[in-house]
Amino acid sequence: MAEVICPENILEEIQLGELLPTVMEKKNAGMRLAQACAAFIDGKFELSYSFSDDKTYQLVTLRVVIDPSEEVPSITEIVPQAVFYENEMKELFGVKIQMITTDYKDKFYRIEEVAPFGPKKEDA
């Protein structure tokens, strides 16, 4: 029988201001950005940045909860491959992400509807 490495996933809730330093910390620890996504739940954006350690199969998720009007700094300066994830968040949810290295300017998926997953017009 093979050895099984399956540590429990970790969820760290952090403040928006801590985002960049924490991402930097994870990157320096040799972790890989596994995914980044947004969710719009009860009038708030929940941003999740998941980092994976390929040696221990540990998944650490950073969770930032923000108001729709808040601006989020881009992590692409630290993790360049986040560019597609951030463009996706920006276009589908309308998360205000600043300074993405390659900003598709809401033309990533080129959909006609504006922010289909984000807050509805009348709520905003």
């Binding site: 093979a2 399956c6 596994a34 969710a39 739940i41 994976s52 390929d54 560019v83 998926y109 080129r110």
Partner: protein, 360 residues
């Protein structure tokens, strides 16, 4: 310095079965930069969470992609089972593993065929697809579907495989293995194939890590990362080692996938040998759960991340699927920099792009 020009590549292109558009900034014959733009297949599948209930969603999510359909359905079910806090019966775990490995075999054989087609070896393409049909026959025999199986449900599987069929699978995959040995020889030893694949599109281990490559692309660059080692489903009982190569070029990616087909055959043998003789293949789950979960599984194309957030309503709040091709896109852009224009088609194929997964 030569003159720079931009060549649009795709969406409709003979080498691509699926539409992706890449703007290639080229200088003479050399690619300087590649800017992908997606959205030709964007459907907005994740938005269906508020129109379908949790059980119906299984079949919608399965249709994210027709090649790795089983894995997507299974990943979603696993995520929901994690939120419900239930454990599926052991036999269901083994059944899922067998089907999952069969779907990996068909996916890799399909890819090997497409690769052969991309470097102009039509005969090899046909041979790969001929062998793939035998795998599809096994899948059709046990599930009734060829590419979309629809046998997963939250809490287990819908169909059982009879002992006769298990024996038949056990012997058929040996025949498939014998035929694979022949095409393996061509892929590994043929000098034309070698000259077309060796040393092209190199991604180093550091690059692969920094760009977050997943699956065979990462393993071909020497990263020992296989989500099956997490031991979900029946993988905890099976003995295997991730297949790694360290060259990081197109040939290494081809080698990894080719050897993974053999690995899948071995895993199916192991699973059939160990499958428990039970009658329970699923448990009932009822109600609307609360919670959230991240689950990662190893799809044929690499690591897929499933995320579900539910809050006790009939409809879940958010479903998110990060597919392997999405993670491999930055790797592709890096690979294309400095490539010859004539190799672009080949390189796009070697990351095994699944655009409908990527865009959902």
């Amino acid at each position: 310095m030569g003159k720079r020009s931009i060549i649009p590549y795709g969406p409709q292109h003979p080498v691509l079965p699926e539409p992706i558009h890449i703007d290639l900034v080229i200088e003479d014959e050399r690619v300087i930069e590649a800017i992908p733009s997606v959205g030709f297949i964007h459907r907005g599948l994740e938005s269906l969470v508020d129109r379908r209930d949790i059980h119906q969603l299984t079949y919608v999510i399965e249709r994210t992609c027709g090649i790795c359909s089983f894995g997507h359905g299974m990943g979603y079910c696993e995520t929901m089972e994690d939120i419900f806090g239930v454990e599926v019966p052991k036999r269901a775990k083994f059944l899922r593993t067998i089907w999952f490995e069969l779907s990996r075999m068909h996916s890799h054989l399909l890819w090997l065929g497409l690769l052969a087609d991309a470097f102009g070896y039509e005969n090899l393409f046909y041979q790969c697809w001929r062998i793939r049909e035998k795998v599809l026959d096994l899948i059709e025999m046990t599930t009734g579907g060829r590419v979309i199986f629809s046998v997963n449900k939250i809490g287990g599987v819908l169909k059982d495989i009879s002992p006769e069929h298990l024996r038949l699978i056990d012997s058929s995959i040996d025949d498939i293995k014998a035929e694979l040995e022949v095409i393996k020889k061509t892929f590994i030893e043929d000098s034309t194939v070698q000259s077309r694949l060796r040393g092209i599109g190199i991604i180093t281990k550091e690059q692969a890590h920094a760009l977050g490559c997943a699956g065979p692309v990462a393993r071909a660059s020497g990263i020992r990362c296989d989500m099956r080692k997490r031991g979900y489903e029946a993988y905890q009982f099976l003995d295997f080692e991730p297949i790694i190569s360290d060259a990081g070029d197109c040939f290494a990616r081809c080698y990894c996938r080719l050897m993974e087909v053999f690995q899948s055959i071995d895993l199916i043998h192991q699973a059939i040998g160990m499958i428990p003789d039970e009658t329970d293949i699923s448990i009932d789950v009822k109600g609307n759960p609360t919670g959230e979960s991240f689950i990662r599984i190893e799809q044929p194309r690499g690591e897929a991340v499933f995320y579900v957030k539910a809050s006790g309503k009939p409809h879940i709040d958010r479903f998110r699927l990060r597919t392997p091709t999405f993670a491999n896109l930055p790797g592709l852009c890096e690979m294309l920099k400095g490539a010859e224009l004539s190799d672009v088609g080949l390189m796009v194929v070697t990351i095994d792009p699944c655009i409908s997964c990527t865009e959902r």
